[in-house]
Symmetry: C2
């Protein structure tokens, strides 16, 4: 039986709530419980369960590694927020704002270990390949974050570098989530690799969609402030392309805004959005998203399973690509 | 054949040097190579190899987990130095002083993952028990660090709480090092547990010796500044006992020094040392060290191996207990 997305998500939420992290000392574990309780889309563990379900009726073996991946993802948010000095996460105070930097460092470290504890509960012969994939992925994500931080002080980031950065920072974890589910579901190495490649391309499309929503999204449903990337001068796909296509005047205007210290937030966002619109950046980004999305779907067609078993995963990817938030 | 301690240490140094951590991006891995290159006693990986060697002629299976433990130990130093805002580690700049807090956070995270990568290379049937022990130990060490930080703002820390804190922060990793070596050396579960208990008690003795050396050590050979614990008002075994035995006048003097902002470093150290000496704190601490050391050795006698195989480990513990640095 193929579970519906709603059933998968319900399973994930129940399992996240059932994580007993009220260990001692509570001051170490409370911030972990806090960030996990803030919610989020739970897309990664859902992908693991869905991928497992493609190959097996029994999704139980996927639960522990799925939880490990979700805990790991939230660990990266916790430490990234500290490094970015972000005040808010999902409209709530970030951990370092609430408890201080030292707690954020140490509870984050403990959270990474808890993620490994869950990965370590992967059963039997799947432990080794799941653990190895997780470790490789985790190091890639650190590399992605390092690139991202280094891009902040650079004005010459190329599209290819940017795509590689978001591959590392975002796409590999989605791909890892899918491949992990495939492995514990008993997929062949080939099918597992195909799902991994699918995950990479869906992940790239997903992140570019995020870049786009930051500029053109609907604030109420996006869950974070619109224009956040613009205000912190993030070299997104949109800004990189804007600089590439801009006239000298437009370049000057962008650079002036980037270096301005005192300004009205809304005015900066409006100015960026106008330049993006004048340069058709929305279209260029949408085209790139479509490109990665189609590539992703071509991978799915290569899987050695009946199309019926892919229905849920396909509908979810479609949903992700049409999201407003 | 039982390897000598010199042979074990040489093996460890060679293996640490052969860790190929020149991965990309170099800005992420350079701080990891840096802190590993600062040296240190390498006592933990040495214990793993020695413990393995007690039960097996072949120490190869112990090398990867031994390295994982050493990388993990250095990761804790990296993040602890950041949390403690320490400027120096082994007479060199700390990572956050040299590269900033964000690099220290992220390279530390990567280092923890690299430690797991090495643990993950433990072969075959030993992977699961070694991984589980490592994860349990790593979380205990985070708990120990959390307690340690919380003790800073408390003046009522009891001896039992302090012993429990150093058990978590220091002793469990020495015990884990030994048990890991025993496991991959093919020891029985019972022998592995005995070595673990030995490690806990040697670890407690080891940390109390550190507390003592901070006050009475020989600066040149100790490698860190004498009196560091005194200057940062650390609630060591010595200070806890001093407060317990002190007269009202002595308590007042200690408290005055603890709250004083401007003073000559040497004077504070001299004042503490005088009170410690007047109260025979050195004797009390030495007695406690001896107590844990003897308990540790009683465990060794319960192992199901010939005394000959324990010679190296015993001589090293003796050395650790008589060290001046």
């Amino acid at each position: 039986m193929i579970l519906s997305f709603e059933e998968i998500l319900k399973k994930v939420e129940n399992e996240v709530s059932a994580l007993h992290l009220n260990e001692s000392p509570i001051s170490l574990y409370t911030p972990i419980q806090y960030i996990l309780s803030l919610g989020g889309k739970r897309i990664r563990p859902a992908l693991t369960l869905m991928a497992c379900n493609i190959f097996s009726e029994d999704i139980e073996p996927a639960i522990k590694p799925a939880l490990g991946i979700e805990v790991f993802h939230n660990f990266t948010l916790l430490h990234d927020d500290l490094m970015d000095q972000a005040d808010l996460r999902r409209n709530q105070q970030t951990v370092h704002k609430k408890w201080g930097a030292n707690t954020a460092i140490l509870s984050g470290d403990a959270m990474l270990i808890v993620a490994y504890r869950l990965i370590g509960e992967t059963s039997g012969k799947f432990l080794k390949p799941v653990l190895d994939l997780f470790t490789t992925t985790a190091l890639e994500i650190c590399a992605g974050q390092q690139h991202d931080m280094e891009f902040e002080s650079r004005s010459d980031v190329e599209e290819e570098e940017y795509i590689e950065m978001i591959r590392l920072k975002t796409a590999v974890l989605l791909a890892c989530s899918l491949k992990t589910g495939a492995l514990v579901g008993g997929a062949s190495e080939k099918d597992a690799e195909i799902l991994y490649a699918y995950g990479i391309h869906i992940g790239l499309a997903f992140q570019l969609m995020d870049d786009l929503l930051d500029v053109y999204g609907d604030m109420a449903s996006f869950g974070k402030k619109i224009g956040g990337d613009i205000l912190c001068n993030k070299k997104t796909f949109l800004l990189i392309h804007a600089f590439k296509a801009a006239s000298e005047d437009q370049k000057k205007e962008l650079n002036d805004w980037i270096h301005k210290q005192d300004y009205i937030l809304e005015e900066k966002i409006r100015a960026f959005r106008k330049i993006y619109t004048d340069l058709c950046i929305e279209k260029i980004t949408e085209k790139k998203i479509q490109y990665f999305y189609e590539l992703a779907n071509e991978y799915l067609d290569q899987l050695s399973v009946s199309p019926e078993r892919l229905r849920v995963l396909k509908s979810i990817s479609q949903l992700l690509m049409n999201r407003k938030s």
